[in-house]
Amino acid sequence: MTAPARSLAEVERGPRTAPPRPAAVPEPPPRRARRATEDPPAVRWALVAVALLFVGAFVLVPAATVVAEAVRGGVALWWKALVDPDALAAVRLTLLVAAIAVPLNALFGLAAAWSVTRFRYAGKSVLVSLVDLPFGVSPVVSGMATVLLFGAHGWLGPWLLAHGVKVVFAVPGIVLATVFVTFPFVARELIPFMEAQGVEEEEAALVLGATGWQILTRVTLPNVRWSLLYGIILCNARAMGEFGAVSVVSGHIRGVTNTVPLQVEILYGEYAFQAAFAVASLLFVLAVVTLVAKQALEWHHRPRRPTVLRSAP
Protein backbone atom coordinates (compact mmCIF):
# COMPACT_ATOMS: atom_id res chain seq x y z
CA MET A 1 0.00 0.00 0.00
CA THR A 2 1.44 3.34 -0.91
CA ALA A 3 0.34 6.26 1.20
CA PRO A 4 0.66 9.74 -0.25
CA ALA A 5 3.51 11.69 1.24
CA ARG A 6 2.31 13.74 4.17
CA SER A 7 3.84 16.40 6.30
CA LEU A 8 4.83 15.55 9.83
CA ALA A 9 2.16 17.86 11.21
CA GLU A 10 -0.42 16.04 9.19
CA VAL A 11 0.65 12.71 10.56
CA GLU A 12 0.43 13.99 14.09
CA ARG A 13 -3.02 15.39 13.61
CA GLY A 14 -4.14 12.37 11.73
CA PRO A 15 -5.33 12.27 8.13
CA ARG A 16 -8.22 14.55 7.37
CA THR A 17 -9.57 12.15 4.84
CA ALA A 18 -9.35 8.44 4.64
CA PRO A 19 -6.36 7.32 2.59
CA PRO A 20 -7.27 5.82 -0.73
CA ARG A 21 -7.85 2.12 -0.43
CA PRO A 22 -6.69 -0.33 -3.03
CA ALA A 23 -9.41 -2.20 -4.85
CA ALA A 24 -11.02 -4.79 -2.67
CA VAL A 25 -9.13 -8.05 -2.89
CA PRO A 26 -10.64 -11.12 -1.22
CA GLU A 27 -8.40 -11.64 1.77
CA PRO A 28 -7.08 -15.15 2.26
CA PRO A 29 -8.58 -16.83 5.32
CA PRO A 30 -6.34 -16.22 8.33
CA ARG A 31 -4.04 -19.22 8.36
CA ARG A 32 -3.02 -20.24 11.82
CA ALA A 33 0.56 -21.41 11.82
CA ARG A 34 1.02 -24.84 13.30
CA ARG A 35 2.81 -24.77 16.60
CA ALA A 36 6.38 -25.91 16.37
CA THR A 37 5.73 -28.96 18.50
CA GLU A 38 2.69 -30.10 16.57
CA ASP A 39 2.65 -32.72 13.84
CA PRO A 40 0.72 -32.32 10.60
CA PRO A 41 -2.84 -33.66 10.97
CA ALA A 42 -2.32 -36.31 8.31
CA VAL A 43 0.66 -37.72 10.19
CA ARG A 44 -1.27 -37.52 13.43
CA TRP A 45 -4.24 -39.44 12.17
CA ALA A 46 -2.15 -42.01 10.36
CA LEU A 47 -0.19 -42.74 13.52
CA VAL A 48 -3.34 -42.93 15.64
CA ALA A 49 -4.86 -45.32 13.11
CA VAL A 50 -1.84 -47.64 13.17
CA ALA A 51 -1.77 -47.57 16.97
CA LEU A 52 -5.48 -48.36 17.19
CA LEU A 53 -5.11 -51.17 14.68
CA PHE A 54 -2.18 -52.68 16.55
CA VAL A 55 -3.75 -52.49 19.99
CA GLY A 56 -7.07 -53.59 18.55
CA ALA A 57 -5.75 -56.67 16.78
CA PHE A 58 -3.36 -57.66 19.52
CA VAL A 59 -5.28 -56.85 22.67
CA LEU A 60 -8.87 -55.84 22.14
CA VAL A 61 -9.89 -58.66 19.79
CA PRO A 62 -8.35 -61.45 21.91
CA ALA A 63 -9.91 -59.95 25.03
CA ALA A 64 -13.29 -59.74 23.35
CA THR A 65 -12.90 -63.32 22.16
CA VAL A 66 -12.60 -64.57 25.72
CA VAL A 67 -15.92 -63.03 26.60
CA ALA A 68 -17.62 -64.03 23.38
CA GLU A 69 -16.48 -67.63 23.53
CA ALA A 70 -17.38 -67.90 27.22
CA VAL A 71 -21.02 -67.06 26.61
CA ARG A 72 -21.30 -68.55 23.13
CA GLY A 73 -23.59 -71.33 24.28
CA GLY A 74 -25.62 -68.98 26.42
CA VAL A 75 -25.30 -67.73 29.95
CA ALA A 76 -26.75 -70.93 31.42
CA LEU A 77 -23.99 -73.04 29.91
CA TRP A 78 -21.42 -70.52 31.10
CA TRP A 79 -22.78 -70.74 34.63
CA LYS A 80 -22.84 -74.53 34.48
CA ALA A 81 -19.12 -74.58 33.62
CA LEU A 82 -18.37 -72.33 36.54
CA VAL A 83 -20.22 -74.31 39.19
CA ASP A 84 -18.70 -77.56 38.05
CA PRO A 85 -17.13 -79.14 41.18
CA ASP A 86 -13.67 -79.29 39.60
CA ALA A 87 -13.88 -75.65 38.59
CA LEU A 88 -14.98 -74.64 42.08
CA ALA A 89 -12.15 -76.66 43.61
CA ALA A 90 -9.74 -74.86 41.30
CA VAL A 91 -11.09 -71.49 42.38
CA ARG A 92 -10.73 -72.46 46.03
CA LEU A 93 -7.15 -73.58 45.51
CA THR A 94 -6.23 -70.44 43.59
CA LEU A 95 -7.64 -68.26 46.37
CA LEU A 96 -5.76 -70.26 48.98
CA VAL A 97 -2.47 -70.00 47.11
CA ALA A 98 -2.84 -66.25 46.67
CA ALA A 99 -3.84 -65.86 50.31
CA ILE A 100 -0.52 -67.39 51.35
CA ALA A 101 1.84 -66.08 48.67
CA VAL A 102 0.69 -62.45 48.56
CA PRO A 103 1.04 -61.62 52.29
CA LEU A 104 4.42 -63.35 52.42
CA ASN A 105 5.74 -61.33 49.51
CA ALA A 106 4.15 -58.13 50.81
CA LEU A 107 6.00 -58.63 54.09
CA PHE A 108 9.19 -59.32 52.20
CA GLY A 109 8.69 -56.26 50.02
CA LEU A 110 8.28 -54.05 53.06
CA ALA A 111 11.34 -55.47 54.79
CA ALA A 112 13.45 -55.22 51.65
CA ALA A 113 12.35 -51.65 50.95
CA TRP A 114 12.99 -50.60 54.55
CA SER A 115 16.44 -52.17 54.52
CA VAL A 116 17.47 -50.84 51.14
CA THR A 117 16.08 -47.30 51.36
CA ARG A 118 16.69 -46.49 55.03
CA PHE A 119 20.29 -47.61 55.49
CA ARG A 120 23.66 -47.32 53.85
CA TYR A 121 25.65 -50.52 53.55
CA ALA A 122 27.85 -52.40 51.15
CA GLY A 123 26.13 -54.87 48.86
CA LYS A 124 22.88 -52.95 48.77
CA SER A 125 22.81 -52.63 44.99
CA VAL A 126 23.49 -56.35 44.60
CA LEU A 127 20.52 -57.06 46.84
CA VAL A 128 18.30 -54.82 44.73
CA SER A 129 19.33 -56.57 41.51
CA LEU A 130 18.72 -59.98 43.05
CA VAL A 131 15.18 -58.95 43.93
CA ASP A 132 14.53 -58.59 40.19
CA LEU A 133 15.84 -62.05 39.41
CA PRO A 134 12.55 -63.98 39.31
CA PHE A 135 11.26 -61.53 36.66
CA GLY A 136 13.92 -62.71 34.27
CA VAL A 137 13.59 -66.42 34.92
CA SER A 138 11.27 -68.51 32.80
CA PRO A 139 8.27 -69.65 34.85
CA VAL A 140 8.97 -73.20 33.75
CA VAL A 141 12.46 -72.98 35.20
CA SER A 142 11.05 -71.49 38.41
CA GLY A 143 8.65 -74.37 38.81
CA MET A 144 11.38 -76.82 38.00
CA ALA A 145 13.57 -75.38 40.77
CA THR A 146 10.85 -76.33 43.24
CA VAL A 147 10.70 -79.84 41.80
CA LEU A 148 14.45 -80.25 42.04
CA LEU A 149 14.44 -79.21 45.68
CA PHE A 150 11.30 -80.89 46.93
CA GLY A 151 10.50 -83.58 44.34
CA ALA A 152 10.70 -87.29 45.07
CA HIS A 153 14.24 -87.23 43.62
CA GLY A 154 15.11 -83.77 44.90
CA TRP A 155 17.38 -82.62 47.72
CA LEU A 156 14.80 -82.29 50.45
CA GLY A 157 11.92 -84.24 48.89
CA PRO A 158 12.78 -87.75 50.14
CA TRP A 159 13.29 -86.53 53.70
CA LEU A 160 10.03 -84.59 53.63
CA LEU A 161 8.17 -87.54 52.11
CA ALA A 162 9.51 -89.78 54.87
CA HIS A 163 7.95 -87.37 57.33
CA GLY A 164 4.66 -87.41 55.50
CA VAL A 165 4.96 -84.03 53.78
CA LYS A 166 4.28 -84.06 50.09
CA VAL A 167 5.36 -80.88 48.35
CA VAL A 168 5.55 -81.52 44.64
CA PHE A 169 2.30 -82.54 42.95
CA ALA A 170 0.59 -81.13 46.05
CA VAL A 171 -0.55 -77.77 47.39
CA PRO A 172 2.72 -76.77 49.15
CA GLY A 173 4.62 -77.02 45.87
CA ILE A 174 2.10 -74.80 44.12
CA VAL A 175 2.42 -72.26 46.91
CA LEU A 176 6.23 -72.33 46.75
CA ALA A 177 6.32 -71.93 42.99
CA THR A 178 3.85 -69.04 43.20
CA VAL A 179 5.84 -67.33 45.94
CA PHE A 180 8.92 -67.53 43.73
CA VAL A 181 7.22 -66.13 40.67
CA THR A 182 5.47 -63.27 42.48
CA PHE A 183 8.44 -62.50 44.72
CA PRO A 184 9.52 -59.09 43.31
CA PHE A 185 6.21 -57.29 42.81
CA VAL A 186 5.73 -55.49 46.12
CA ALA A 187 9.43 -54.78 46.61
CA ARG A 188 9.68 -53.35 43.08
CA GLU A 189 6.90 -50.89 43.84
CA LEU A 190 8.03 -49.88 47.30
CA ILE A 191 11.77 -49.46 46.78
CA PRO A 192 11.65 -46.58 44.28
CA PHE A 193 8.74 -44.96 46.08
CA MET A 194 10.36 -45.01 49.50
CA GLU A 195 13.65 -43.93 47.97
CA ALA A 196 11.96 -40.88 46.49
CA GLN A 197 10.11 -40.08 49.70
CA GLY A 198 13.30 -39.81 51.65
CA VAL A 199 13.86 -40.45 55.33
CA GLU A 200 13.05 -37.05 56.79
CA GLU A 201 9.65 -38.00 58.16
CA GLU A 202 11.01 -41.13 59.80
CA GLU A 203 13.90 -39.15 61.24
CA ALA A 204 11.47 -36.57 62.57
CA ALA A 205 9.47 -39.33 64.23
CA LEU A 206 12.63 -40.78 65.75
CA VAL A 207 13.74 -37.43 67.14
CA LEU A 208 10.24 -36.98 68.56
CA GLY A 209 10.72 -40.20 70.49
CA ALA A 210 8.90 -42.84 68.44
CA THR A 211 10.05 -46.46 68.62
CA GLY A 212 10.78 -48.50 65.52
CA TRP A 213 7.35 -50.08 65.56
CA GLN A 214 5.68 -46.69 66.07
CA ILE A 215 7.65 -45.23 63.15
CA LEU A 216 6.58 -48.12 60.94
CA THR A 217 2.91 -48.11 61.82
CA ARG A 218 2.31 -44.39 62.32
CA VAL A 219 4.57 -42.80 59.72
CA THR A 220 5.89 -45.21 57.10
CA LEU A 221 2.87 -47.42 56.45
CA PRO A 222 0.39 -44.54 56.14
CA ASN A 223 2.77 -42.87 53.72
CA VAL A 224 3.38 -45.88 51.49
CA ARG A 225 -0.09 -47.39 51.72
CA TRP A 226 -1.13 -46.67 48.13
CA SER A 227 2.17 -47.80 46.74
CA LEU A 228 1.98 -50.95 48.86
CA LEU A 229 -1.57 -51.61 47.72
CA TYR A 230 -0.50 -51.16 44.11
CA GLY A 231 2.25 -53.73 44.56
CA ILE A 232 -0.13 -56.13 46.27
CA ILE A 233 -2.65 -55.84 43.44
CA LEU A 234 -0.02 -56.67 40.83
CA CYS A 235 1.36 -59.47 43.00
CA ASN A 236 -2.11 -60.91 43.47
CA ALA A 237 -2.89 -60.81 39.75
CA ARG A 238 0.21 -62.78 38.97
CA ALA A 239 -0.30 -65.18 41.89
CA MET A 240 -3.80 -66.07 40.73
CA GLY A 241 -2.89 -66.20 37.06
CA GLU A 242 0.46 -67.98 37.13
CA PHE A 243 0.52 -70.88 34.74
CA GLY A 244 3.97 -72.10 33.71
CA ALA A 245 5.56 -72.54 37.12
CA VAL A 246 2.45 -74.00 38.68
CA SER A 247 2.00 -76.30 35.74
CA VAL A 248 5.37 -77.93 36.46
CA VAL A 249 4.73 -78.64 40.13
CA SER A 250 1.03 -79.38 40.18
CA GLY A 251 0.74 -82.77 38.55
CA HIS A 252 -2.70 -81.70 37.28
CA ILE A 253 -4.74 -83.72 39.72
CA ARG A 254 -8.31 -82.65 39.14
CA GLY A 255 -10.10 -81.16 42.07
CA VAL A 256 -6.92 -81.37 44.14
CA THR A 257 -3.94 -79.61 42.58
CA ASN A 258 -5.54 -77.71 39.75
CA THR A 259 -5.54 -73.97 39.96
CA VAL A 260 -7.87 -71.96 37.72
CA PRO A 261 -5.31 -71.45 34.92
CA LEU A 262 -4.52 -75.18 34.95
CA GLN A 263 -8.21 -75.98 34.83
CA VAL A 264 -8.45 -73.81 31.73
CA GLU A 265 -5.62 -75.73 30.11
CA ILE A 266 -7.13 -79.10 30.90
CA LEU A 267 -10.56 -78.19 29.59
CA TYR A 268 -9.01 -76.72 26.46
CA GLY A 269 -6.93 -79.84 25.94
CA GLU A 270 -10.09 -81.90 26.13
CA TYR A 271 -11.67 -79.74 23.44
CA ALA A 272 -14.21 -78.48 25.98
CA PHE A 273 -13.68 -75.02 24.49
CA GLN A 274 -16.80 -73.45 25.82
CA ALA A 275 -16.08 -74.59 29.39
CA ALA A 276 -12.43 -73.58 29.05
CA PHE A 277 -13.41 -70.06 28.03
CA ALA A 278 -16.05 -69.92 30.73
CA VAL A 279 -13.44 -70.63 33.39
CA ALA A 280 -10.99 -68.33 31.60
CA SER A 281 -13.57 -65.55 31.83
CA LEU A 282 -13.06 -65.64 35.60
CA LEU A 283 -9.40 -64.85 35.09
CA PHE A 284 -10.34 -62.23 32.55
CA VAL A 285 -12.50 -60.56 35.18
CA LEU A 286 -9.54 -60.72 37.55
CA ALA A 287 -7.39 -58.96 34.97
CA VAL A 288 -10.01 -56.28 34.38
CA VAL A 289 -10.46 -55.71 38.11
CA THR A 290 -6.69 -55.44 38.44
CA LEU A 291 -6.48 -52.89 35.66
CA VAL A 292 -9.36 -50.84 37.02
CA ALA A 293 -7.81 -50.85 40.49
CA LYS A 294 -4.48 -49.85 39.00
CA GLN A 295 -6.04 -46.99 37.04
CA ALA A 296 -7.99 -45.85 40.08
CA LEU A 297 -4.86 -45.84 42.23
CA GLU A 298 -2.89 -43.96 39.61
CA TRP A 299 -5.66 -41.45 39.20
CA HIS A 300 -6.13 -40.84 42.90
CA HIS A 301 -2.64 -41.19 44.16
CA ARG A 302 -0.34 -41.07 41.21
CA PRO A 303 2.93 -41.96 42.89
CA ARG A 304 4.17 -38.45 42.35
CA ARG A 305 7.70 -37.61 43.14
CA PRO A 306 7.61 -36.06 46.57
CA THR A 307 9.52 -32.80 46.69
CA VAL A 308 10.94 -33.64 50.07
CA LEU A 309 14.25 -35.31 49.43
CA ARG A 310 16.93 -35.91 51.91
CA SER A 311 19.36 -33.03 51.72
CA ALA A 312 22.83 -34.20 50.84
CA PRO A 313 25.07 -33.80 53.84
Binding site: R44, V50, P62, V66, L127, S138, V140, M144, A237
Partner: protein, 277 residues
Amino acid sequence: MSAGARRGVLPGFGLSTGFTVLYLCLVVLVPLSAVALRSSSLGWEAAWSVVASPRALASYRLSFGASLAAAAANVVLGGLVAWVLARYRFPGRAVVDALVDLPFALPTAVSGIALTAVYGPTGWIGRHLEAAGVRVAFSPLGVTLALTFIGLPFVIRTVQPVLEDPDPEVEEAAAVLGASRWQTFRRVLLPALLPAAITGFALAFARALGEYGSVVFISGNMPMRTEIAPLLVMTRLEQFDYAGAAAIATVLLGASFVLLLAINRLQAWTRARAGAA
Protein backbone atom coordinates in the same frame (compact mmCIF):
# COMPACT_ATOMS: atom_id res chain seq x y z
CA MET B 1 31.15 -45.43 68.03
CA SER B 2 28.90 -48.30 67.08
CA ALA B 3 29.28 -49.52 63.53
CA GLY B 4 25.51 -49.79 63.21
CA ALA B 5 24.94 -46.08 63.61
CA ARG B 6 27.04 -45.36 60.53
CA ARG B 7 24.48 -47.16 58.38
CA GLY B 8 21.80 -44.79 59.52
CA VAL B 9 20.04 -44.12 62.77
CA LEU B 10 16.60 -45.58 62.13
CA PRO B 11 15.83 -48.80 63.92
CA GLY B 12 15.31 -52.18 62.29
CA PHE B 13 18.42 -52.57 60.18
CA GLY B 14 19.22 -56.06 61.45
CA LEU B 15 15.65 -57.30 61.32
CA SER B 16 14.76 -55.97 57.88
CA THR B 17 18.07 -56.81 56.22
CA GLY B 18 18.26 -60.21 57.88
CA PHE B 19 14.76 -61.13 56.81
CA THR B 20 15.34 -59.82 53.29
CA VAL B 21 18.52 -61.80 52.79
CA LEU B 22 17.16 -64.97 54.36
CA TYR B 23 13.95 -64.85 52.36
CA LEU B 24 15.83 -64.06 49.18
CA CYS B 25 18.12 -67.04 49.74
CA LEU B 26 15.36 -69.48 50.61
CA VAL B 27 12.90 -68.45 47.93
CA VAL B 28 15.16 -67.53 45.05
CA LEU B 29 18.83 -68.34 45.38
CA VAL B 30 18.68 -71.88 46.77
CA PRO B 31 16.11 -73.10 44.22
CA LEU B 32 17.98 -71.51 41.32
CA SER B 33 21.29 -72.97 42.40
CA ALA B 34 19.54 -76.33 42.61
CA VAL B 35 18.86 -76.03 38.88
CA ALA B 36 22.45 -75.21 38.03
CA LEU B 37 23.83 -77.92 40.33
CA ARG B 38 21.46 -80.56 39.04
CA SER B 39 22.61 -80.02 35.49
CA SER B 40 26.20 -80.38 36.58
CA SER B 41 25.38 -83.82 38.01
CA LEU B 42 25.17 -85.02 34.41
CA GLY B 43 28.82 -84.44 33.76
CA TRP B 44 30.18 -82.25 31.00
CA GLU B 45 29.76 -84.56 28.05
CA ALA B 46 26.30 -85.77 28.83
CA ALA B 47 25.20 -82.24 29.62
CA TRP B 48 26.66 -81.00 26.34
CA SER B 49 24.92 -83.72 24.37
CA VAL B 50 21.62 -82.59 25.86
CA VAL B 51 22.24 -78.90 25.55
CA ALA B 52 23.57 -79.15 22.01
CA SER B 53 21.21 -81.81 20.69
CA PRO B 54 19.58 -80.87 17.37
CA ARG B 55 16.19 -80.65 19.03
CA ALA B 56 17.51 -78.34 21.75
CA LEU B 57 19.35 -76.19 19.21
CA ALA B 58 16.17 -75.88 17.15
CA SER B 59 14.31 -74.78 20.27
CA TYR B 60 16.89 -72.10 21.11
CA ARG B 61 16.76 -70.85 17.55
CA LEU B 62 13.03 -70.52 17.73
CA SER B 63 13.01 -69.04 21.24
CA PHE B 64 15.72 -66.49 20.57
CA GLY B 65 14.62 -65.72 17.02
CA ALA B 66 10.95 -65.28 17.83
CA SER B 67 11.75 -63.31 20.98
CA LEU B 68 14.04 -60.97 19.06
CA ALA B 69 11.47 -60.51 16.33
CA ALA B 70 8.73 -59.88 18.88
CA ALA B 71 10.82 -57.39 20.84
CA ALA B 72 11.76 -55.60 17.63
CA ALA B 73 8.12 -55.45 16.54
CA ASN B 74 7.32 -54.00 19.93
CA VAL B 75 9.97 -51.32 19.64
CA VAL B 76 8.48 -50.12 16.35
CA LEU B 77 4.77 -50.59 17.02
CA GLY B 78 4.96 -50.11 20.78
CA GLY B 79 7.06 -47.01 20.30
CA LEU B 80 4.41 -45.72 17.94
CA VAL B 81 1.63 -46.44 20.43
CA ALA B 82 3.62 -44.71 23.17
CA TRP B 83 4.05 -41.67 20.92
CA VAL B 84 0.37 -41.53 20.10
CA LEU B 85 -0.65 -41.97 23.74
CA ALA B 86 1.78 -39.38 25.03
CA ARG B 87 1.36 -36.74 22.34
CA TYR B 88 -2.13 -36.85 20.91
CA ARG B 89 -5.61 -36.50 22.29
CA PHE B 90 -8.15 -38.62 20.44
CA PRO B 91 -11.39 -40.38 21.28
CA GLY B 92 -10.73 -43.68 23.02
CA ARG B 93 -7.27 -42.70 24.18
CA ALA B 94 -7.99 -43.61 27.82
CA VAL B 95 -9.27 -47.03 26.74
CA VAL B 96 -6.18 -47.71 24.66
CA ASP B 97 -3.99 -46.58 27.53
CA ALA B 98 -5.72 -49.03 29.87
CA LEU B 99 -5.68 -51.85 27.32
CA VAL B 100 -1.91 -51.62 27.00
CA ASP B 101 -1.55 -53.19 30.44
CA LEU B 102 -3.88 -56.07 29.67
CA PRO B 103 -1.20 -58.48 28.41
CA PHE B 104 0.52 -57.92 31.72
CA ALA B 105 -2.57 -58.48 33.84
CA LEU B 106 -4.14 -61.29 31.83
CA PRO B 107 -3.01 -64.76 32.95
CA THR B 108 -0.88 -66.28 30.23
CA ALA B 109 -3.07 -69.36 29.84
CA VAL B 110 -6.00 -67.10 28.98
CA SER B 111 -3.89 -65.10 26.55
CA GLY B 112 -2.80 -68.37 24.97
CA ILE B 113 -6.26 -69.75 24.29
CA ALA B 114 -7.60 -66.33 23.29
CA LEU B 115 -4.85 -65.79 20.73
CA THR B 116 -5.38 -69.28 19.39
CA ALA B 117 -9.09 -68.65 19.09
CA VAL B 118 -8.48 -65.43 17.17
CA TYR B 119 -5.55 -66.45 14.99
CA GLY B 120 -6.25 -70.18 14.66
CA PRO B 121 -7.27 -71.55 11.22
CA THR B 122 -10.92 -71.03 12.08
CA GLY B 123 -10.49 -67.92 14.21
CA TRP B 124 -11.91 -64.46 13.59
CA ILE B 125 -8.76 -63.15 12.02
CA GLY B 126 -6.90 -66.41 11.37
CA ARG B 127 -9.61 -67.49 8.95
CA HIS B 128 -8.93 -64.53 6.68
CA LEU B 129 -5.17 -64.84 7.00
CA GLU B 130 -5.46 -68.52 6.13
CA ALA B 131 -7.42 -67.60 3.03
CA ALA B 132 -4.64 -65.18 2.12
CA GLY B 133 -2.13 -67.99 2.50
CA VAL B 134 -0.67 -66.85 5.82
CA ARG B 135 -0.61 -69.52 8.47
CA VAL B 136 -0.28 -68.11 11.98
CA ALA B 137 -1.22 -70.88 14.37
CA PHE B 138 1.11 -73.86 14.70
CA SER B 139 3.92 -71.95 13.00
CA PRO B 140 6.88 -69.83 14.14
CA LEU B 141 4.78 -66.83 13.16
CA GLY B 142 2.24 -67.78 15.80
CA VAL B 143 4.99 -68.02 18.41
CA THR B 144 6.21 -64.56 17.45
CA LEU B 145 2.67 -63.23 17.60
CA ALA B 146 2.13 -64.54 21.13
CA LEU B 147 5.47 -63.17 22.27
CA THR B 148 4.67 -59.79 20.74
CA PHE B 149 1.41 -59.81 22.70
CA ILE B 150 3.03 -60.49 26.07
CA GLY B 151 5.89 -58.04 25.45
CA LEU B 152 3.59 -55.24 24.36
CA PRO B 153 3.41 -53.29 27.65
CA PHE B 154 7.16 -53.20 28.21
CA VAL B 155 8.32 -50.89 25.42
CA ILE B 156 5.26 -48.69 25.71
CA ARG B 157 5.56 -48.24 29.44
CA THR B 158 9.25 -47.45 29.35
CA VAL B 159 9.07 -45.04 26.40
CA GLN B 160 5.83 -43.26 27.35
CA PRO B 161 7.15 -41.42 30.43
CA VAL B 162 10.07 -40.04 28.43
CA LEU B 163 7.69 -38.73 25.78
CA GLU B 164 5.35 -37.29 28.38
CA ASP B 165 8.12 -35.12 29.73
CA PRO B 166 6.19 -31.88 29.71
CA ASP B 167 9.05 -29.67 28.57
CA PRO B 168 8.48 -28.70 24.94
CA GLU B 169 11.36 -26.24 25.00
CA VAL B 170 13.87 -28.58 23.41
CA GLU B 171 11.57 -29.17 20.47
CA GLU B 172 10.75 -25.50 20.22
CA ALA B 173 14.44 -24.71 20.28
CA ALA B 174 15.00 -27.15 17.43
CA ALA B 175 12.16 -25.56 15.47
CA VAL B 176 13.51 -22.05 16.07
CA LEU B 177 16.91 -23.22 14.91
CA GLY B 178 15.30 -24.20 11.62
CA ALA B 179 14.76 -27.95 11.95
CA SER B 180 11.76 -29.48 10.24
CA ARG B 181 9.40 -31.60 12.28
CA TRP B 182 11.02 -34.76 10.92
CA GLN B 183 14.51 -33.47 11.58
CA THR B 184 13.48 -32.57 15.12
CA PHE B 185 12.16 -36.07 15.61
CA ARG B 186 15.18 -37.80 14.13
CA ARG B 187 17.90 -35.64 15.63
CA VAL B 188 16.43 -34.44 18.92
CA LEU B 189 13.66 -36.72 20.11
CA LEU B 190 14.91 -40.08 18.89
CA PRO B 191 18.31 -39.86 20.61
CA ALA B 192 16.54 -38.90 23.83
CA LEU B 193 14.23 -41.89 23.47
CA LEU B 194 16.95 -44.37 22.65
CA PRO B 195 17.90 -45.51 26.17
CA ALA B 196 14.27 -46.07 27.11
CA ALA B 197 13.53 -47.86 23.83
CA ILE B 198 16.51 -50.17 24.23
CA THR B 199 15.56 -50.87 27.84
CA GLY B 200 12.03 -51.67 26.77
CA PHE B 201 13.40 -53.93 24.04
CA ALA B 202 15.55 -55.80 26.55
CA LEU B 203 12.66 -56.17 28.99
CA ALA B 204 10.34 -57.47 26.29
CA PHE B 205 13.03 -59.81 25.02
CA ALA B 206 13.76 -61.21 28.49
CA ARG B 207 10.09 -61.76 29.15
CA ALA B 208 9.56 -63.42 25.76
CA LEU B 209 12.51 -65.75 26.17
CA GLY B 210 11.03 -67.40 29.24
CA GLU B 211 7.38 -67.21 28.23
CA TYR B 212 5.44 -70.45 28.27
CA GLY B 213 1.71 -70.11 28.85
CA SER B 214 0.68 -67.87 26.00
CA VAL B 215 2.81 -69.74 23.46
CA VAL B 216 2.04 -73.41 24.01
CA PHE B 217 -1.54 -73.18 22.78
CA ILE B 218 -0.82 -71.41 19.54
CA SER B 219 2.51 -73.04 18.69
CA GLY B 220 1.33 -76.61 18.25
CA ASN B 221 4.54 -77.76 19.96
CA MET B 222 6.06 -79.68 17.06
CA PRO B 223 9.62 -80.75 17.90
CA MET B 224 12.21 -79.08 15.65
CA ARG B 225 9.61 -76.67 14.27
CA THR B 226 7.50 -74.90 16.85
CA GLU B 227 8.91 -76.13 20.13
CA ILE B 228 10.24 -73.28 22.30
CA ALA B 229 13.02 -73.90 24.84
CA PRO B 230 10.86 -73.62 27.98
CA LEU B 231 8.52 -76.21 26.46
CA LEU B 232 11.45 -78.54 25.88
CA VAL B 233 12.30 -78.21 29.58
CA MET B 234 8.70 -79.09 30.38
CA THR B 235 8.77 -82.12 28.09
CA ARG B 236 11.96 -83.44 29.68
CA LEU B 237 10.44 -82.96 33.13
CA GLU B 238 7.34 -84.88 32.14
CA GLN B 239 9.62 -87.72 31.10
CA PHE B 240 11.28 -87.44 34.55
CA ASP B 241 14.57 -86.60 32.83
CA TYR B 242 15.42 -84.04 35.54
CA ALA B 243 19.09 -83.70 34.70
CA GLY B 244 18.35 -83.14 31.02
CA ALA B 245 15.70 -80.59 31.87
CA ALA B 246 18.09 -78.87 34.25
CA ALA B 247 20.78 -78.68 31.56
CA ILE B 248 18.52 -76.81 29.14
CA ALA B 249 17.09 -74.74 31.99
CA THR B 250 20.62 -73.69 32.88
CA VAL B 251 21.10 -72.35 29.38
CA LEU B 252 17.92 -70.32 29.80
CA LEU B 253 19.02 -69.17 33.26
CA GLY B 254 22.35 -68.02 31.89
CA ALA B 255 20.57 -66.00 29.23
CA SER B 256 18.29 -64.49 31.92
CA PHE B 257 21.27 -63.47 34.03
CA VAL B 258 22.99 -61.77 31.14
CA LEU B 259 19.81 -59.97 30.21
CA LEU B 260 19.15 -58.91 33.77
CA LEU B 261 22.61 -57.42 34.02
CA ALA B 262 22.15 -55.66 30.71
CA ILE B 263 18.77 -54.29 31.80
CA ASN B 264 20.23 -53.01 35.05
CA ARG B 265 22.93 -51.19 33.14
CA LEU B 266 20.41 -49.85 30.66
CA GLN B 267 18.14 -48.55 33.37
CA ALA B 268 21.04 -46.80 35.06
CA TRP B 269 21.89 -45.30 31.67
CA THR B 270 18.28 -44.18 31.14
CA ARG B 271 18.22 -42.56 34.55
CA ALA B 272 21.54 -40.86 33.96
CA ARG B 273 20.28 -39.52 30.65
CA ALA B 274 17.03 -38.33 32.19
CA GLY B 275 18.94 -36.71 35.03
CA ALA B 276 21.31 -34.92 32.69
CA ALA B 277 18.50 -33.49 30.60
